[in-house]
Subunit: 361 residues, 2 copies
């Protein structure tokens, strides 16, 4: 394992996951929740998935300062200096820039994988092989590598990556990134075989992504260049406090990946879902004989099917005559909503905020 | 008010109201619940309704020993010796027999109204007039008087009283008591004008009902006759502890009213409901613009109507696309059930007991 000492994992853990309200809340977002009732949160699953790939001390968690305690509680093995606390929410580009500057300072040969903390990956050994191959690739190429997921359905909730020239089987140049398509277009994408889901998982060397920031997001790069001498030192925290909030709020996809000319995709298939919606959670969860998803909840159903329940562990839920609903009881909030209307939940959250301020957010 | 010093009110308060599970529970039955979110339980409303009719100290509460604290807490004005604690559940006849023996002992001229504690009466001044007239009647006649409610719909959930010979307007001999009819029969009853709802509210003199017990429930009367010397004395409690559990469990309707030949009905119309079902609660509650009953609950509805919500006071309930359901969140239990299936709730409670013992009862 000596050959992996320059390999780092960066877990992005600052999101608020508002689509899973009321189960995800501003003080306990999606990544901290035990979504499948397995006793492990999505963050914990993400962390454990990376353990076989890099030395434990090479795993970094980027999160918002308000979630510091949550991260420490859920990942007690991680050394406090491996938890980087963002003083503000600034989307993925500033987060990744900080991680890259930090790693380049402590290890000029650093290569890194950047991964969300709130996705599901079911085939962990396949994931491991794919990531190892990705590290090999970016260590030998000045490349920005993204993982593209073999699509299995005309999903309209994901961005797609169009593949170009093949370097070797499963490793190709990226032709274009596309936004979420409508259903018609998604069907065309699926049939063409040229489009892969953008999982938001990236690999590169720290120096290579720093170069890309200078070229495509020079304002952001200049901000971090001011601290070149402090990264990896005790002064880093204070520098970030001052300068991070000045960064533009922009995604790495829009700011860098869609513009750079050295972007590659590794086409993979390791049972991935972004768990972005209740329906994706429903689809990825074991079902009862009546096609309900009850997790560890105590649910008794009568003439009810296709529902997904998330309720406190000891609560008894008795349901009759309910088809295809989300029933989410978060203690102080109860949501009952047809699965087909889940897109409206974010508007309901806005209504709730208007009426009750942040009490139920 | 001197003429009412021999008049007594007996509030029966020992029921468990299982049809309103999970909101009514064995440790907090229906009568103790603030059903309408007015800040007063059904028992408190029943008590306050009687205050203008008899002297406060002439109000008696019959309840199960396990509810003693609840009664004292909700009716702090009542002197402890006016709360008669049944050591066991024995239906209405033994309860009423005890009340009658007790009152006859402390006041041989006692007349009494016996009333449930968990019904709704909306026109309290009409109620008062009807009860005063009833007292006048039973004080001048050796009569067992029941109040018959003018029916307003072909209700299949109530028993009916068929009227016979009229003594004076609105005061008639009872011809028969009938059990709950099916819908066809209920329609015939309604159209005939001869049938009234049996509200389970009775008036008589204590001596007269004691005589009826001797004639129609001699076993029960013998049991209480054994304590003739102790009623109204400190020895009464111990006597009841010993003898009450030996009483047959039987209703006053079946045991006495359906058999006696001196039964009369006062036909009344004071906005009565037994609140026996969620639908009757729905019907008797104010509605939102969307025809939902939300009480004091914090409910936000989207495309939802005809529902009744009972949830903890500070809980936010967000509901979309739900029509005509009962949503009852009792903290440790959540029930979601179409109103049209409310008759099945009692079977669900049996299932719950089989699976979880009495944890959620």
């Amino acid at each position: 394992m000596d050959n992996n000492k320059h390999r780092y994992c960066v877990i992005m853990c600052g999101g608020i996951g508002s689509r899973f309200w009321p189960y995800s809340r501003t003080d306990k977002p999606k990544q901290f929740i035990d979504f499948f009732g397995t006793g492990r949160s999505l963050l914990q699953m993400s962390y454990e998935r990376l353990l076989p790939i890099v030395p434990k001390e090479n795993i970094l968690v980027m999160t918002n300062a308000r979630y510091a305690d949550k991260v420490r509680e859920q990942l007690p093995d991680i050394s406090p200096d491996r938890i980087l606390l963002e003083p503000d929410r600034r989307n993925t580009a500033p987060c990744i820039a900080w991680a890259a500057y930090h790693l380049a300072a402590i290890d000029p040969q650093a290569s890194m994988i950047v991964t969300p903390s709130d996705h599901l990956i079911t085939r962990e050994s396949v994931f491991e092989q794919c990531v190892l191959r990705g590290f090999d690739f970016v260590e030998n190429n000045d490349a920005l590598l993204t993982l593209g997921i073999h699509p299995t359905r005309p999903e309209t909730g994901y961005g797609y990556i169009q593949i170009g020239r093949e370097l070797e089987p499963g490793l190709l140049k990226v032709k274009t990134f596309t936004e979420k398509p409508d259903l018609e277009l998604a069907k065309v994408f699926l049939e063409s075989g040229e489009f892969f889901w953008n999982a938001g998982i990236f690999l590169w060397r720290a120096e290579v992504i720093k170069k890309a920031f200078h070229r495509y997001l020079p304002d952001l790069a200049s901000e971090f260049d001011l601290g070149e001498s402090v990264f990896g030192t005790p002064a880093e925290t204070e520098f970030i406090q001052t300068h991070f909030p000045s960064c533009p709020s922009i995604s790495i996809d829009f700011g860098v990946m869609e513009k750079a000319d050295n972007v590659y995709v590794e086409c993979v298939d390791f049972g991935w879902s972004d768990l972005g919606t209740w329906t994706s959670l429903y689809d990825n969860s074991p079902k009862t004989a009546d096609s309900n998803v009850t997790q560890k909840c105590r649910v008794m159903t009568y003439g009810s099917s296709g529902n997904i329940f998330m309720t406190p562990e000891d609560k008894l839920v008795v349901v009759s005559g309910l088809q295809n609903y989300i029933v989410a009881d978060a203690g102080d909030v109860l949501l009952i909503c047809p699965r087909s209307e889940e897109q409206r939940i974010k508007n309901m959250v806005i209504d709730v905020e208007q009426r009750f301020d942040d009490r139920y957010l």
